[in-house]
Amino acid sequence: MSFLEFLMSRWPTILSLTLEHLLIVFIAMVISIALGVSVGILITKNKVAAQIVLNFTNILMTIPSLALFSLLIPVLGIGKIPAIVGLVAYTQLPIVRNVYTGMMTINPSILEAARGMGLTEKKILRTIKIPLAFPAMMSGIRTATVMGIGIGAIAGYIGAGGLGVYIFQGISRSNDQMVIVGAVIISLISILTDRFLGGLQRKLNR
């Protein structure tokens, strides 16, 4: 079977796996961004907590994704939920670290001026700290999302679905076409997402 014939006959499966992949990564990233940004903001209030959280997320990231997913199986079973939990855990570090450093590197004189003008801490956070830390946050979110797409492929191994399934099945059936199609689509999604978020970043920073 030629490559084109393969694509023509399998495109419904390929499309549904791609959509499934995007959905899993999207859900995981929504949770991850919400969690990461709030944790990143919260730990700016306490240096010790910040150290603990940053070290913890750092260690989480060194655990090989395949191993982390496998370790989640006894706890959460097989399927999309452990995959999403694993993805959220993995993508915390870039988001939390960037939110934290973004907020900590704000010029203190700006904050003092804001306090001098009588702004409450809540208002300072909303109108000064978050907008000023926004570029750093966005670059963390970009890194995390691109990572999430790649790790989402590995989640196919624990029954989460998505394009990883195509790669793993292709390897075990020694079907090179499946493997290559899966790999190429995942790579394209990663590259395009990176490009898109990079463009968004530039636009928002202007």
């Binding site: 090989p64 395949l66 191993a67 790790i151 390897i171 899966g182 590259i191």
Partner: protein
């Protein structure tokens, strides 16, 4: 004294790995684990893992550093931004996709794993070599030329020593990433500690899984500490 504390860290990680292995071998959950995890088998898997990482990282250094040097020489300088952009795109490609593509073209086996890991670890070293060499202040190289040093001397006595820390940082990133990605080699018949994770999943024994997860983490942490101290050592 930084070297002493890093030595202690390396020892600590090594001991944790050793005790964990001894504990699993001595107190297996059941007969299946006892048969699967023995000292001999662990040694073989660890050696395979070292081999995969070592060969691919060595190949990556031997190709990326000369390529980075070539791309900062006058003749090829104009190509550097394009190559850097390509490398940046390459770095967003997930490791599983690189391994899978390598399988697609080379079939299964340890060669496939090494090629995939080599390509994947090439990128951070190349980008750091390029950036490190580009960041060397041009007034310094001009001064070196003015003192009558030849191009080759300027490269080896001035540029490379100044870029060494940056290159070493790239090697550090590459090696730590490769130790984690080498787990995927188990899927393509390359062996390594990833075999433990696959086996642990197939027979669903948490001890095997934990060991398979912990050993690469400890190896990555050790490599990180070792290359961090090397990085400090070569910094000018």
């Amino acid at each position: 004294m930084a070297s002493l504390s890093s030595l202690l860290k390396v020892l600590l990680y090594g001991l944790i790995g050793l005790f964990l292995s001894i504990w699993v071998v001595q107190n297996p959950q059941d007969g299946l684990v006892a048969r699967l995890v023995t000292y001999d088998k662990l040694a073989v898997l660890l050696l395979q893992h070292f081999y995969l990482v070592g060969v691919s990282a060595l190949l990556a250094v031997l190709t990326a550093v000369p390529l980075g040097i070539a791309l900062t020489r006058p003749g090829l300088k104009s190509w550097a931004p394009r190559v850097l952009a390509l490398v940046n795109i390459g770095q967003t490609v997930p490791s599983l996709a690189v391994v899978a593509l390598s399988v697609g073209f080379l079939g299964v086996g340890s060669l496939t794993a090494i090629v995939a890991l080599w390509i994947y670890s090439l990128l951070p070293i190349l980008s750091n070599t390029l950036i490190g060499l580009q960041e060397v202040d041009s007034s310094i190289t001009e001064a070196a030329h003015g003192m009558g040093m030849k191009g080759r001397h300027v490269l080896f006595r001035v540029e490379l020593p100044m870029a060494a820390a940056m290159i070493m940082a790239g090697i550090r990133t590459a090696v730590t990433i490769t130790i984690g990605s080498a787990i995927l080699a188990a899927f393509v018949g390359g062996g390594g500690v990833g075999n433990l994770i696959i086996a642990g999943n197939n027979i669903s024994r948490w001890q095997v899984l934990v060991l398979g997860a912990a050993l690469p983490v400890l190896m990555a942490l050790m490599a990180d500490v070792i290359f961090e101290s090397l990085e400090k050592k070569v910094r000018v």
